[in-house]
Amino acid sequence: MVVFEKPHALCDVPLHYCPGCTHGIVHRLVAEAIDELGIEGSAIGVAPVGCAVMAYDYFNCDMVEAAHGRAPAVATGIKRAKPENIVFTYQGDGDLASIGMAETVHAATRNENITIIFINNAIYGMTGGQMAPTSLPGQVTQTSPYGRDVKTAGFPIKVSELLASLDGPSYIQRVAVNNVKNVKQAKKAIKKAFENQIEGKGFSLIEVVSSCPTNWGMTPQQALDWVEEKMIPYYPLGVYKDKTSEEGE
């Protein structure tokens, strides 16, 4: 009996991500959730601009490629047009929390019935390692070569906490994929985010604290250790908002 294999919702093509990049893990978790809920045939995914820009080649469901940061708006359009379809976006921190913050906040406050998978790896990966809205204080990047100085570059944005302050969104959870236990937790959260949509419960966002070994200048394992030691203390894991139990359909 097969206990673990590539999910069907993930296309049979090699991913272009760097060795040890956790995008691959999260892609798989999304695809597993799609498989288990039997929604591949109705799912429509929205790819971002960033490292995951080619996600449209990786998920077996219908896909659209959005402009940088606009995925929640594109997903809004699709969901309004096709309420019976399951619509999700997959976005990084530059896409979602910098250039696309307005789209994110407003989709959340409208409690748009969509699912957002948000990868927080504290850096711009695709363009070669620049400071992200989520880069940690003191973090050295290409555009913060002396470390992120909060006096000039401001503080990291805690997306889950920020969105949880809104009345609108239904479900906000932060997870990580730095070890087996956390990956399993992340899987549960992602699945719940899709279930919420199926049940018409509204906006769900799962923030996934992830790694970027290449641009952090670490080995893949060192990067996961850094997630544990530096990222998670700044970005505590947990459910930040859950209206799903109070509001049934």
Binding site: C11, E40, G41, S42, A43, I44, V46, V53, M54, Y56, D57, F59, N60, C61, D62, M63, V64, E65, A66, A67, R70, A73, V74, A75, T76, G77, I78, K79, R80, A81, K82, N85, A102, E103, V105, H106
Partner: protein, 353 residues
């Protein structure tokens, strides 16, 4: 049954869009197109449609992109500064070969400009507007009736050629009230096998996209798209000729400028000047052949514009600069008077009468 009603131009667009089967509207408040959004806000919920006031023009056009990718008829409307904000999304829609309608009820610019009518977005509308090689089908109404009719036409052409279309009106046209015979409800269904509907596990996944990292592939999409544009240029040019048969002076004007010009042409005829009006209805594709033909028998052209002179370049191109083209313009929200147009007609006619 169609009925004749008195309507504002902006409202006529909205009602015509609904009758053309558009059930999704996304917008952001801006003068002077607000009545359109307000009309949609009132009507859409009553007919099971979607009106959504977006957080920005940028979000609105990307919502349009989302709906367009599912194959449904969808629109947004704005005025000049807002349409500038939409350009990124319009480029993506063009790059992904999606049909959609963008309405621009123009006001004066640049920058925040003013709220009075203008035609100074001609370049932006007809030459692409955003980044990359692309065109929009651009229709320019000159009456409230045409606001309605051309809205329907915009949807039809956008679907037919899989490209975004733009209704380019101006503040006067938007605010003007005229009787209008509303078009019949359309139940046209266009096959859209590329649309995102979910695979239903019965086909491979559809991808709506404008990213091609291999330059030879991207080049091919551009060449293919321009082949389609060629067909549009061959098949879809629309214009109106008024007293052009024996015209010696050809006035070229669209939208509100054409209405003013018509009066000037009539007055010129009274004064013995053989003037005529060529009114482009499609600004892209531009009626180049008609202009070229006019250049064969006219002494010259008068380009009447609510801008610093934008369409005049297309007239010069189409006429191969065979005869003089005089610009008769006002800008910043001002409208040329019939007397001003008549003056220009006289200049071209050579001081006759």
């Amino acid at each position: 049954m169609s009925e004749k009603v008195l309507m504002k131009g902006n409202e006529a667009i909205a009602e015509a869009a609904i009758r053309a089967g558009c059930r999704h509207y996304f917008g952001y408040p801006i003068t002077p197109q607000t009545e359109l959004a307000a009309y949609m806000a009132k009507r859409m919920p009553k007919i099971g449609g979607c009106f959504l006031q977006a957080e920005s023009e940028i979000a609105a056009i990307n919502m349009v992109y989302g709906v367009a990718s599912t194959g449904l008829r969808v629109m947004t409307s704005s005025s000049s500064p807002g349409v500038s904000l939409k350009q990124e999304g319009i480029s993506y829609i063009a790059g992904a070969d999606l049909p959609a309608l963008i309405v621009n009820v123009q006001r004066g610019g640049p920058g925040l400009g003013g709220i009075q009518p203008s035609q100074s977005d001609y370049f932006q509308a007809t030459k692409g507007g955003g980044h990359g090689d692309y065109h929009l089908i651009v229709l320019a109404p000159a009456s409230v009736q045409e606001m309605a009719d051309l809205t329907a036409k915009c949807f039809e052409l956008a679907d037919k050629y899989r490209m975004p279309s733009m209704l380019l009106a101006d503040g006067t046209m938007g605010q003007m009230m005229e009787p209008v015979l509303l078009p019949e409800e359309s139940d046209v269904t266009v096959e859209k096998p590329w649309a995102l509907t979910g695979t239903k596990m019965q086909r491979g996944h559809n991808i709506v996209n404008s990213l091609y990292l291999k330059p030879e592939e991207l080049e091919k999409t551009n060449f293919d798209r321009f082949e389609r544009y060629k067909q549009v240029e061959e098949n879809e040019v629309m214009y109106e000729e008024f007293m052009m048969d024996d015209a010696e002076v050809c006035v070229v004007a669209f939208g509100i400028a054409a209405r003013v010009s018509k009066n000037a042409v009539v007055e010129a005829r009274k004064q013995g000047i053989k003037a005529g009006l060529l009114r482009p209805i499609t600004l892209w594709p531009f009626p180049s052949a008609a202009v070229k033909q006019a250049a064969e028998h006219c002494k010259g052209f008068v380009s009447v514009e609510l801008s610093m002179g934008q369409m005049i370049e297309d007239i010069k191109l189409a006429s191969d600069c065979k005869c003089p083209v005089e610009l008769c313009n006002r800008a910043g929200g001002m409208i040329p008077s019939p007397e001003q147009v008549l003056e220009s007609i006289k200049n071209i006619a050579g001081g006759k009468a």
